[in-house]
C-alpha cells in the first residue's frame, strides 16, 4: 500500500461493491434514456446572447444612408487598444464626416468604450460573434463594412439600473 492514501471509514453495512456498482449503472442508464440533452446544435441553434454582449462593431446610419459619425475623434482617443483609425474630413457646408474610419477587430478588446463615449450614438459594439475571414487584413473593418452590419447592438450598462431591469 502506498504511503499516505486516505482510507475513508464507513460502516460495514453501508459499504458494498457489487450493489454500489449496480446502482451506479442504474443511474447511467437513467441518463442514457433521458431525452433531455444539454448540447446545443450550434449552427442551427444558438445560445441567446445577453443584451449587454459586446461583439462585432456596427456603425449606425442616418435615414439618407450616411454614417452618423461626425469625426469628433473621441473614440480613437478613448480606445485603450488603439484599434480605431480616424481621418476627419469636412464638406462645403462645414459638416464633419470621417474620410477614413477603420477598426482592427484583432486589436480590439471589446471594452465598449467607443460606444459609451460616442456623442452621436454612431459607433456600437454589437450582439454578434461569428467572424471569419481568409486573411488577417480582412479583419480591419472599414466604414462601409461597419455600416453594412445588421445585427442588434449592445445595450450598455446603465449605472442607474445596474441589473438591466
Amino acid at each position: 500500500m502506498p504511503i499516505g492514501v486516505k482510507v475513508l471509514e464507513r460502516p460495514i453495512d453501508k459499504s458494498s461493491y457489487v450493489r454500489a456498482t449496480l446502482s451506479g449503472m442504474a443511474l447511467t442508464l437513467k441518463h442514457l434514456l433521458d431525452t433531455d440533452k444539454v448540447t446545443i446544435q450550434y449552427p442551427e441553434q444558438k445560445w441567446p446572447l445577453s443584451p449587454r454582449w459586446r461583439g462585432t462593431h456596427r456603425m449606425l446610419t442616418t435615414e439618407d444612408g450616411k454614417a452618423k459619425c461626425v469625426a469628433c475623434g473621441l473614440c480613437p482617443t478613448v480606445c485603450p487598444a488603439n484599434c480605431i483609425k480616424l481621418v476627419p474630413g469636412e464638406d462645403e457646408n462645414g459638416n464633419r464626416y470621417p474620410l477614413l474610419f477603420e477598426i482592427d477587430e484583432f486589436r480590439c478588446i471589446f471594452c465598449g468604450y467607443c460606444q459609451e463615449v460616442c456623442p452621436e450614438e454612431a459607433i456600437h459594439v454589437g450582439r454578434h460573434y461569428e467572424n471569419s475571414e481568409y486573411s488577417r487584413e480582412g479583419f480591419v473593418y472599414d466604414l462601409e463594412r461597419l455600416m453594412s452590419q445588421t445585427h442588434p447592438v449592445c445595450e450598455m450598462w446603465d449605472p442607474a439600473d445596474p441589473k438591466g431591469e
Partner: protein, 437 residues
C-alpha cells in the same frame, strides 16, 4: 498433447455432429463464403460499435454525440477512417521499427481469429450437404480460443516496448501483468461450463444449452459467468481495467507513439476484442445461437430459415453484451494497479476455484442420484444452488469491501475498527421509522 485432446474431443462429440458435406468443392466454397460474410459483418460491426460507443457515452453524459456524418452520424467512423488513412505516419527516431510496425497487426489478428470457431447459426442441411455455421467447427474449439486469446497481449507488449518510450513501456508491462492474471480466472471460469457440457467443442456447448426450457449456462453457472465477464473486461483492456492505456498517468500507454492508421488498428483491435468477448459470453453462457423455450431450431429439417433466425438471434445477444461493455465503461472509474492485482489474485481466483469445486461436486452428486445434466431437474437444482450462492456472495459477503478490489487493504485491525464503528453508530430516526413523518 493437442492431438490427444483432439482425438478425445472427436470421440466425445462425434455422435452429435451432423456429417460434413460430401464434396470438397462445396466445402471449400461454403467456407470461402462464410469467411467473406463474417469478415464483412465483423468489420462493419466494429465500425458501428465505435459509433455506438460514442453515441451511448454521449447519451449517458446528457450529450448528443456524433450526429452529423450520415443519418444519426452512422458514417462517422468512415470519415474517421478516411482521415486516418490520409494522415502522415510518424515513426519515433529511437523505435525498433520491425516490431513497431508489426505490433498493431499482432493486436488485431488474434481477436479476428477467435471468430473462426464460434458457431453463429444452426447448421444448414442444404441440397449440397450439411453446412456447419462456424468457419472452422473445431472439436477443440474452446482450447483454441484460450490459446489464441492469450496471443492478444503480445501486440500490446511489443507496441509498448518497441516505441522506446517510458510511458508506452509501462503500459505494455501493466497489460502483460493484467492479462496473465485475468487469463487464469477466465480459463477457470469456463470449467463449470465444460463440466456441464462434458466437452470443449463450442458446437457441443451450444447444443447442451438447447432444450424445451431455458437451459442457458448463466442459470446453472451464474458465478462463473460473473467471473468470466469481469475477466473479459480485463482481457479486452476496457474500463475499469484500462490500465495499459490510463491516459491520466501514462499519456496513452502503449499506443502513445502511434499515429494515423496504426493507431486506428489498435482502436479497431480493442473493439474487435469487445465483439469477440461478447460472442464468447453469448456462446458459453447464453446459449449461443439457440432459441430458448423451443426445440424448433434444434430439430430437423434444418432449413435456411432456421439458420438465418438463429444467426439473427446470436447477433442480438452479441450486441446486447457490446452494449453492456459500453455501459460499464461509462459508469465505472479505473482501478488502481494494486486494486487490479488484488481483485484478480486474491478475490476472483479463490472464488472461481471454490466455485469449480462446488459445481463439480453438485454435478457428481446429482449424477449419482440419477439426474442427468440434460434433465430439467438438474437445471432447477443448479439454479436454486446458484441463487443461494449469489445471495450469499453479493448480498451477505459484499460488505466492508470484502468483494471489492480494495480488499487488499482491509487487514484484521481495520476490519475490527470498522466493526466497532458499525456497532457504535446510532441510526438516525428518519431511517428507523419508515413511516411518513
Amino acid at each position: 498433447m493437442i492431438a490427444l485432446l483432439q482425438q478425445v474431443a472427436t470421440q466425445a462429440s462425434g455422435v452429435e455432429h451432423l456429417p460434413p458435406p460430401e464434396s470438397g468443392g462445396v466445402w471449400f466454397l461454403a467456407t470461402a463464403v462464410k469467411i467473406l460474410v463474417l469478415f464483412t459483418i465483423y468489420m462493419v460491426g466494429v465500425m458501428l460499435v465505435i459509433w455506438a460507443e460514442r453515441r451511448i457515452c454521449a447519451f449517458i453524459q446528457d450529450r448528443r454525440g456524433p450526429n452529423r456524418v450520415g443519418p444519426h452520424g452512422l458514417l462517422q467512423s468512415v470519415a474517421d477512417g478516411v482521415k486516418n488513412i490520409m494522415k502522415e505516419e510518424t515513426y519515433p527516431a529511437q523505435a525498433y521499427l520491425p516490431l513497431f510496425v508489426l505490433a498493431p497487426v499482432m493486436a488485431f489478428i488474434p481477436a479476428l481469429l477467435t471468430w473462426a470457431v464460434i458457431p453463429y447459426g444452426a447448421p444448414w442441411v442444404s441440397r449440397w450437404g450439411t453446412i456447419d455455421m462456424a468457419i472452422a467447427p473445431l472439436p477443440i474449439g474452446f482450447l483454441f480460443i484460450l490459446s489464441i486469446a492469450s496471443l492478444g497481449v503480445y501486440g500490446i507488449v511489443l507496441a509498448g516496448w518497441s516505441s522506446n518510450n517510458k510511458y508506452s513501456l509501462l503500459g505494455g508491462l501493466r497489460s502483460s501483468a493484467q492479462m496473465i492474471s485475468y487469463e487464469i480466472s477466465m480459463g477457470m471460469s469456463t470449467i463449470p461450463v465444460l463440466i456441464l457440457a462434458g466437452n470443449v467443442s463450442l458446437g457441443r456447448i451450444v447444443e447442451q444449452q438447447a432444450g424445451r426450457g431455458l437451459h442457458w449456462n448463466v442459470l446453472s453457472c451464474t458465478i462463473a459467468f460473473v467471473v468470466f465477464m469481469v475477466a473479459a473486461f480485463a482481457e479486452t483492456n476496457r474500463v475499469p481495467f484500462d490500465l495499459p492505456e490510463a491516459e491520466s498517468e501514462l499519456v496513452a500507454g502503449y499506443h502513445a507513439e502511434y499515429s494515423a492508421m496504426k493507431f486506428s488498428m489498435f482502436f479497431i483491435a480493442e473493439y474487435a476484442n469487445v465483439m469477440t468477448a461478447s460472442a464468447l459470453m453469448s456462446t458459453l453462457f447464453f446459449g449461443g445461437w439457440d432459441l430458448p423455450f423451443t426445440l424448433w431450431d434444434n430439430v430437423a429439417p434444418h432449413t435456411l430459415l432456421k439458420t438465418l433466425v438463429t444467426f439473427a438471434f446470436i447477433w442480438a445477444k452479441i450486441l446486447f453484451f457490446v452494449f453492456v461493455f459500453i455501459w460499464v465503461r461509462w459508469t465505472l472509474p479505473r482501478f488502481r494497479y494494486d486494486q487490479l492485482m488484488a481483485l484478480g489474485w486474491k478475490f476472483m481466483l479463490p472464488l472461481i476455484l471454490a466455485y469449480v469445486v462446488v459445481v463439480a461436486g453438485a454435478t457428481l452428486v446429482l449424477d449419482a442420484i440419477g439426474f442427468h445434466p440434460a434433465s430439467w431437474q438438474f437445471s432447477v437444482i443448479m439454479l436454486a444452488l446458484n441463487i443461494v450462492l449469489v445471495v450469499i456472495l453479493f448480498g451477505v459477503v459484499d460488505r466492508g469491501r470484502l468483494v471489492s478490489p480494495a480488499y487488499s487493504r482491509l487487514d484484521k485491525r481495520n476490519l475490527d475498527k470498522l466493526r466497532r464503528l458499525d456497532r457504535a453508530r446510532v441510526r438516525p430516526a428518519a431511517f428507523t421509522g419508515g413511516g411518513p413523518a
